[in-house]
């Protein structure tokens, strides 16, 4: 087990972290709240939805800061990934064609489904029945196909 270093000896985060610290803190608090909410009175499969959603939002936030707004440095971005502020695997998918809005990795895990298919949220709105309102089982996504 690695030694836990005191805060004073810890290496400071890269430059620019101060700019986004506050927003990351908000995400962290949201996540804590979501984790501590009792899940007795909701269906079992829905218990982890908020966790997935907050995690997605935070990853998206960092992804946009680095790739779209170019607001943070590469060092900071890597530091954030290393320290678990964003999901690197999910971001890796977002860079691929057709996965630009992917909600979570579980939704494209075809091996976990009965018919070896992706989640319903991956189906474009145009191909769903008219007026069909979907919400996927794994993360509560309402549709994350690129064309929507």
């Amino acid at each position: 087990m690695p030694a836990i270093r005191p805060a004073s000896k810890r290496k400071p985060p890269p430059e620019g972290f101060a700019d986004i610290e506050e927003d990351l803190l908000i995400f962290a608090n949201k996540m804590k709240d979501a984790q501590n909410t009792p899940t007795d009175n909701i269906p079992k499969h829905q218990a982890k939805w908020p966790i997935f959603q907050i995690s997605h939002q935070r990853s998206r936030y960092i992804y946009e800061l680095y790739y779209e707004k170019e607001a943070i440095s590469k060092q900071l971005y890597e530091w954030l990934l290393k320290n678990g502020y964003a999901d690197a695997m999910l971001i890796a998918k977002w860079k691929k064609n057709g996965y630009e809005k992917l909600c979570c990795l579980r939704c494209i895990q075809t091996k976990e489904t009965n018919f070896n298919s992706t989640c319903i949220c991956r189906v474009p709105k145009a191909e769903l029945k008219e007026g069909q309102d979907v919400q996927c089982v794994s993360c509560g996504c309402r549709g994350c196909a690129t064309g929507d």
């Binding site: 430059e15 986004i20 506050e22 927003d23 908000i26 998206r60 946009e64 707004k69 607001a71």
Partner: protein, 625 residues
């Protein structure tokens, strides 16, 4: 198969006599003014009074007036019945029994008929020979409204609803949807229905509306009260003994045998209100413009509420407010306004968009009128992303600029305090290695301010310390003189000198106390700063700034203008609404009066019916008496 037996009605307004001009009063109705005699009247001055329609004092425009499509939907002049009759007259006599022909035909005529097409809005006293009170009031705008309803056999929830002006639409009470164009699936049944209608007419049987077979709902008494209960809905139209029986698949053709009375048949059936068609605006023919939809929806909305409760004070304005957004603001202006909002409220550009929305109440974003210039969340998000990217870049640039001048100043100040000729650079460096100014801080790692530079400055400083005071003073004076008047003048203070001085080695050569006194004296001998904009580079910058400011002012003015118009429109709506409500109440009172049946109730009814044949103005006169 069908003959158009419609007789030309006296609806066409005669041209005004010379000297008279037509105007519109603020209340919305038309009056006539003679500039020569300085006379004004609500009555249309005509050569012969007889051909004037019953609503002589009504706000009906001349036939040439047609609603302007661009105008505000509710401000648009309503269609006038006589005009629509004119149109009916001008319909060429093609056989409209074929639905395809009829529909194609309708498509052409829809444009002209639109504004009233959805509008069963008003209580529709359009052709009604009003009583006295009604003549004092501004006349209600004529609007089409449902008159009779026939269940379509075989297509269960569907009804065929006939309107006052002889048009008709399919209505599905289950889905609460109605269509002017008969949907394909019920078309055969409707054709069947029309055949039946013609057959009955030929055989002299009572029309369909009177046949219980075609009334799928129980007939309710023609009571206003019940009509108002929105849910109860379906009124039997059994006493609709009127004449639109043979009008074909769309409303254009009016073929009736009793011709003259078809615009006057309302007094006999005063309670024809069917709480149907609440949403048919959406499914209307495609030729409808947005304005028409809005107008129709607003009317429906108003109608619906009136049905619920006539005196409901909490009338819902929401739908009508939506009508008001004719934007004087261009798209780019709207975007820029939204960006101004973001900049003004000091939103952190690093924050996610979601935070802006979550904390919109706290930061005051939602309460700002500029928030609504963009109408969709998607557009807002787009602009936000764009703005944040640019704001972050600007922030970065500003920071970089700040850092550029920074590292030297504290170092020089440190040198002045601690450097002494007794120490070599290596010793000095070792002695103060823990000081911040001696370290390459990560914040400055990209700058070329390193140990070599420090050493150079240190050596130079030590060498200068050996020079005589007078030499140092003259050097400092030279330095001060080299600074442009713009940056250094009699308003500057010793504490806030320009960085050009602070980063120069000559600045720290003198002892701090004597130096400050010397500079103080020098500054006092200077002249005031030149007027802004003398410098060429500065001027350019000012120009840019001024332009930006001007643009912004323009945008804000446009926004204000828009707000003002919205407010105005709202006020107008309210006024109109109040007026409509008053009229409705009036109608109700009239209804109640009509409902009171005395002994000769039937007689009087018959008498009135007999009189519908005579020209309208006379009847009006009678009523007034």
């Amino acid at each position: 198969m069908l003959r158009s037996t419609y007789k030309p009605s006296p609806g066409a307004l005669p041209p005004l006599p010379p000297g008279w001009t037509e105007h519109k009063a603020p209340t919305g109705h038309t009056y006539y003014y003679n500039a020569a005699t300085k006379e004004s009247t609500y009555k249309r001055p005509g050569v012969t009074p007889t051909p004037t329609p019953p609503a002589a004092a009504s706000p009906f425009g001349p036939p040439s007036v047609s609603p302007v499509p661009g105008a505000h939907p509710l401000a648009a002049a309503p269609m006038n019945p006589s005009m629509s009759y004119l149109q009916h007259q001008t319909v060429p006599s093609i056989n409209l029994s074929d639905p395809h022909v009829a529909n194609a035909f309708m498509a052409q005529y829809a444009q002209q008929n639109q504004p009233q097409s959805g509008g069963r809005g008003g209580f529709g006293a359009g052709g009604r020979g009003g009583n006295q009170q009604q003549q004092q009031r501004p006349r209600p705008q004529p609007t089409d409204k449902p008159k009779a309803k026939v269940a379509i056999l075989g297509c269960e929830p569907w009804f065929l609803v006939y309107t006052k002006y002889g048009r008709r639409f399919a209505y599905n009470p289950v889905k609460n949807a109605s269509y002017w164009r008969i949907p394909e699936k019920i078309l055969p049944a409707v054709i069947e229905l029309d055949k039946e209608r013609i057959r009955r007419k030929a055989a002299g049987e009572p029309p369909l509306e009177e046949d219980p077979k075609y009334q799928s709902h129980e007939k309710e008494e023609e009571k206003k009260v019940e009509a108002k209960e929105a849910g109860s809905g379906q009124q039997g139209g059994q006493e609709e003994t009127h004449d639109y029986d043979s009008s074909e698949y769309e409303e254009v053709e009016v073929t009736d045998d009793e011709g003259a009375d078809h615009h006057d048949d309302d007094p006999e059936h005063p309670s024809k209100r069917q709480p149907t068609t609440t949403e048919d605006g959406n499914q209307g023919p495609i030729e409808f413009t947005e304005d028409d939809f809005a107008a129709q929806l607003a009317m429906m909305e108003g109608e619906g509420d009136d049905c619920m409760d006539v005196d409901d004070p909490e009338y819902d304005f929401a739908a009508q407010e939506e009508n008001v957004d004719e934007e004087p603001l261009s798209d780019t202006d709207a975007r820029l306004l939204f960006r101004d909002l973001l900049s003004d409220l000091r939103i952190n550009p690093y924050s996610p968009f979601q935070k802006l929305i979550d904390e919109g109440d706290k930061t005051g974003v939602f309460s700002d009128p500029r928030y609504t210039v963009l109408t969709s969340m998607r557009a807002r998000r787009e602009v936000y992303d764009e703005w944040s990217r640019e704001a972050i870049q600007a922030l970065k640039e500003a920071r970089a600029k700040e850092e550029k001048k920074d590292p030297r100043i504290p170092y020089l100040a440190f040198l002045q305090e601690h450097a002494s000729p007794k120490l070599y650079w290596a010793e000095f460096k070792r002695k103060h290695r823990k000081e911040d100014v001696m370290k390459d801080s990560p914040a400055h790692h990209h700058r070329t301010f390193n140990d070599k530079e420090r050493e150079k400055l240190y050596r130079e400083h030590i060498n200068r310390l050996k020079l005589p005071q007078s030499q140092l003073k003259s050097d400092l004076k030279k330095l001060l003189e080299s600074v442009p008047l713009r940056q250094l003048n009699n308003r500057s203070s010793v504490a806030s000198l320009p960085s050009q001085i602070l980063t120069d080695i000559r600045y720290i050569s003198l002892d701090a106390k004597t130096r400050d006194e010397f500079i103080e004296g020098y500054i006092q001998g200077l002249v005031p700063p030149p007027e802004a904009g003398n410098d060429a580079g500065g001027e350019e910058e000012d120009e840019v700034l001024r332009k930006a400011r001007e643009e912004r002012r323009k945008r804000e003015k446009a926004l204000e203008e828009r707000e003002r118009r919205v407010g105005e429109e709202k006020r107008r709506q309210e006024k109109k609404l109040a007026f409509e409500r008053a009229r409705l109440r009036e109608e109700e009172r009239e209804l109640q009066r009509a409902m009171v049946v005395d002994k000769k109730g039937l007689q009087s009814q018959l008498a009135v019916e007999g009189k519908t044949e005579v020209p309208a103005p006379k009847e009006e006169g009678e009523k007034a008496e």
